[in-house]
Every structure is written in structure tokens, then in C-alpha cells.
């Protein structure tokens, strides 16, 4: 009995930890501009792949491993992040992004279905390390503009750009 209780407690604790690790998410239901409606399946796929891209970005910048970007980033977004990782590595630095909340709004779905643009009011913890010493830790709040394009099995981030908040 007590063993069962303990297993339940561990399972509950793990799930609570995992739940705590997930960023808060809010998605505006409005349809984006463009000639075709955004299907619910596409919408949820894009959100899932976009949040996954944040995890990949965080891991790649923290470990200075550009190959971790391959699954979720293409084009200029991938080039920029890879270049940043190379600069960090050469300077003995790394940075850590931990996303806490996303407020997503779809703004444009191209008529051919080959690109989706969204904005994300993101809240995240940003830490910068030099020679493994913490230099700064800052809570950030930025409006990201994101363009995703479809790949063989998932949506990939092609543009990820923070802009001044309106």
C-alpha cells in the first residue's frame, strides 16, 4: 500500500515538474489575413512545432551545438542562430533561454499555404555565461515575429525576430 502510494507520489511529482517546465500558452482565436482559412489541425501543428523550436534554440545556445537547430530551423533563422553559436563558442560564452509564457497570434497565412506568420509576446528568462560564470540573468518580455514554412513532416522556423513592443 505504502509502496503504491510512494509510486503515485513520485509520478505526481514528476508530472508536476514536467507541467511546471511547460511555458504558459495563450493563442488568439482570430483568423489570419490571407485568402484561405487556417485549419485547426494546421494551427495546432504550427504551435507545437514553434514551441519545440524554442526548446531547440535554448538547448543549442546553452550547449553551443548548432546541429540541435536542424530539426526546427531553416533559412535565415538557422543561419543567424548558427552564427551566434559560433561567436559564443569562440568567445567562451553561452546563453540560456527559458521560455515562461507565449501569447501567440496568427497574422498571415499565405494563399499558397507555403508560409505562416505569427506574432508571439514571449516572456523568458535570459542568462548569459562567460567562461562558465554567470554574467547576467534578466527576465525579458519581447514581441517576436515568426515566419514558418512547411517541411516534410513539420513546420520549420524561417524567421524569428524580436521587435520593440507596440
Amino acid at each position: 500500500m505504502s509502496r503504491h502510494l510512494m509510486i503515485h507520489c513520485i509520478a505526481f511529482g514528476l508530472s508536476a515538474c514536467l507541467a511546471a517546465a511547460q511555458p504558459a500558452l495563450r493563442v488568439e482565436p482570430a483568423q489570419p489575413q490571407g485568402s484561405q482559412a487556417l485549419a485547426e489541425q494546421t494551427r495546432s501543428g504550427v504551435i507545437s512545432d514553434y514551441l519545440s523550436a524554442w526548446q531547440s534554440m535554448g538547448s543549442a545556445l546553452e550547449q553551443n551545438r548548432p546541429e540541435l537547430l536542424d530539426r526546427d530551423f531553416v533559412g535565415s533563422a538557422k543561419d543567424e542562430l548558427s552564427s551566434t553559436i559560433a561567436q559564443q563558442a569562440s568567445l567562451g560564452m553561452r546563453s540560456r533561454y527559458r521560455d515562461d509564457a507565449h501569447d501567440i497570434r496568427f497574422v498571415f497565412y499565405s494563399p499558397d499555404g507555403l508560409s505562416i506568420e505569427l506574432t508571439d509576446d514571449a516572456e523568458y528568462e535570459f542568462q548569459v555565461y562567460a567562461r562558465d560564470k554567470l554574467q547576467a540573468a534578466q527576465r525579458m518580455h519581447a514581441r517576436y515575429v515568426v515566419i514558418l514554412t512547411p517541411g516534410a513532416a513539420r513546420w520549420s522556423v524561417r524567421v524569428l525576430q524580436a521587435s520593440p513592443q507596440e
Binding site: 489575413q33 490571407g34 485568402s35 534554440m57 545556445l61 535565415s76 543567424e80 542562430l81 552564427s83 551566434t84 561567436q87 559564443q88 568567445l91 560564452m93 546563453s95 533561454y97 497574422v107 498571415f108 499565405s110 494563399p111 499558397d112 507555403l114 508560409s115 506568420e117 506574432t119 535570459f126 542568462q127 548569459v128 562567460a130 560564470k133 554567470l134 554574467q135 547576467a136 540573468a137 534578466q138 525579458m140 519581447a142 515575429v145 515566419i147 524567421v159 524569428l160 525576430q161 524580436a162 521587435s163 520593440p164
Partner: protein
């Protein structure tokens, strides 16, 4: 009472000292910098330090003299985004809470230098409403998406010189339009322009399906010579040679079907001449006339 006052005064003095230290160690960065432009960072205090500028798009490190202004030439920061400027002392071990930090934005340049123009489809039948779509994203010289609204002109010109025009203002860096395919086959030029930047795509328009398909039947040496009129689409364009036309002859419960490619705009075939036979003609989804042979 006296001890309490002393304690209060000490706390007040420490707070003032901390504030003065923070003031002394502060850095001042412009809140916003245009991508690629020169900028400077004021580093207060004295002694040497390391200035880090870190964002997802770029990382810079510079040894600085506190009390001086660190200048960065044009082209130093080119990727738009939110950055942190961090001033770290050279000597004492860094403490995340004590390093002066300031966040700032690098914004895209105002002038577009590149355009991503997606035009679809590249080939389609003539005379379809809003069938051609064009979408553009505007970028500056550093591949940053320009988010300020900019006018984009779309022009679709057919070989005869007729032009469809639309003017659209970008929202969040994107603009799109839809246009009709023209009535005549040929290759149209689809041009998107903003400022000095333009991009052209070719859109091939081909004839549609056969329209008003019609055949004639005449006896010839004991058989029936079945022949279509010149086959055209609904806009009057000749359907290309090689397009399959299907002739069917039904005699009571039996059917004979012959597929014939168009040659010089018409299709013709010989079929058995049988009394009360019914002949029909079709091409793709178009059904033509029906003839009953009663002789």
C-alpha cells in the same frame, strides 16, 4: 532608542552607497538602434571592464575603459532583435546580481533591399477568377523582416499588354493579392514592386477544357466518318493537339469506344455504320453533342 537610530542610519548609508555604486557602474545604451548603424555605449565608473552584447542574432565582446564611451562602427550589429548589454568588471569575480545590464532593440533598416515573392500557380488554365496569388515579405539589406507598413504594387501583364494592378500595404512585413487569369493563353509577367526593389515571376496560362464540343457524321465507303469541329475552350483558345477526344458508338447494349488525339485542332475517326447507332463525343470533363444514325 539610540541603538535603533544607529541601526537605521547604517542601513540608510548602505543603501545610499549601493545606489551610488550602481550609478557608478551603470551603462547607457540607446533604447533602439537601426540594424547596421553605428552606435555607442557609455560605461560609467573607473577601471577596465568587459562589455558583452548578447542576443539570439549576434554576440559581441569588447574590452572597455570605464568612464569612457565604447563606440561600435556601422555594420557591428546587423540582426534585428532584443539584446542585452552587460558590463563585467575585469578583476573581481562576476556576480550576476551586480553587473550592470541594459536591454535594447536592434530594429530593421527602413529601406527594403530584398523581397521574397511567392507567386502561385506557375501554370493554370485561362479565365479563372482570383486564381493567381502573390505574397511578398520585405527584408532589409541584412535579411531582417521590415515590420513598418510599406506599399507594395502588384502587376500582372499578359502578352497582349493588358495589365491588372493592385496596391497593397504590408502588415507585419507581409502583403498579398489575388488576380484573375487572362482570357488568352500565353505567359504573363507577374511583378511585385516596392521602392527600388522588384521581383518578377512568369505565370503560364494554358487553354482550358474543351467547350461546346461538336461533331459531324457522314457516310464514307460503308462506314461513318466522325469528325469534330475545331476544338476550343470556353474563351475561344484552340485546345492543343494531342488532347484526347473520346468517340463512343452505342448499338443496342453494345458500346464501342475510340480515343483519338487532336490533330490540327480536330479529331476524326471511322466507325461502323449500323442502323440506330448512337454516337457521342467527349473530351476530359466536356461532353459534346449526340448523333443517332438512322439510315
Amino acid at each position: 532608542m539610540r541603538r535603533g537610530f544607529l541601526f537605521l542610519m547604517t542601513g540608510f548609508a548602505l543603501t545610499i552607497a549601493n545606489l551610488a555604486l550602481a550609478q557608478e557602474q551603470s551603462i547607457t545604451v540607446p533604447k533602439s538602434i537601426e540594424a547596421g548603424s553605428a552606435f555607442s555605449v557609455q560605461c560609467a565608473g573607473s577601471g577596465e571592464g568587459t562589455l558583452y552584447i548578447v542576443g539570439p542574432g549576434q554576440v559581441l565582446r569588447r574590452q572597455v575603459q570605464r568612464g569612457a564611451t565604447a563606440t561600435f562602427p556601422a555594420g557591428s550589429l546587423t540582426h534585428a532583435g532584443r539584446y542585452l548589454a552587460i558590463l563585467s568588471p575585469s578583476q573581481s569575480p562576476p556576480d550576476a546580481g551586480s553587473n550592470p545590464v541594459s536591454s535594447f532593440d536592434v530594429v530593421p533598416a527602413a529601406q527594403p533591399a530584398k523581397m521574397s515573392f511567392l507567386a502561385r500557380p506557375s501554370r493554370l488554365p485561362v479565365d479563372i477568377h482570383n486564381a493567381i496569388t502573390g505574397a511578398v515579405y520585405l527584408f532589409d539589406a541584412y535579411q531582417n523582416l521590415i515590420l513598418t507598413p510599406l506599399p507594395v504594387s502588384f502587376e500582372l501583364t499578359n502578352p497582349s499588354g493588358a495589365v491588372q494592378k493592385r496596391s497593397v500595404v504590408t502588415r507585419d512585413g507581409a502583403a498579398w493579392t489575388a488576380m484573375d487569369s487572362s482570357a488568352h493563353e500565353g505567359t504573363d509577367r507577374f511583378i511585385a514592386t516596392t521602392g527600388e526593389v522588384s521581383s518578377t515571376r512568369a505565370v503560364v496560362q494554358v487553354t482550358g477544357d474543351a467547350c461546346n464540343l461538336r461533331m459531324n457524321v457522314a457516310p464514307a465507303d460503308g462506314k461513318l466518318l466522325v469528325q469534330t469541329d475545331p476544338v476550343r475552350d470556353c474563351s475561344g483558345n484552340a485546345v492543343p493537339d494531342g488532347t484526347i477526344v473520346t468517340f463512343t458508338e452505342a448499338i443496342h447494349d453494345e458500346k464501342t469506344t475510340v480515343d483519338v488525339p487532336l490533330k490540327r485542332g480536330i479529331a476524326k475517326v471511322e466507325m461502323p455504320a449500323v442502323r440506330d447507332a448512337t454516337l457521342t463525343v467527349a473530351s476530359g470533363v466536356s461532353l459534346g453533342n449526340q448523333v443517332r444514325w438512322e439510315k
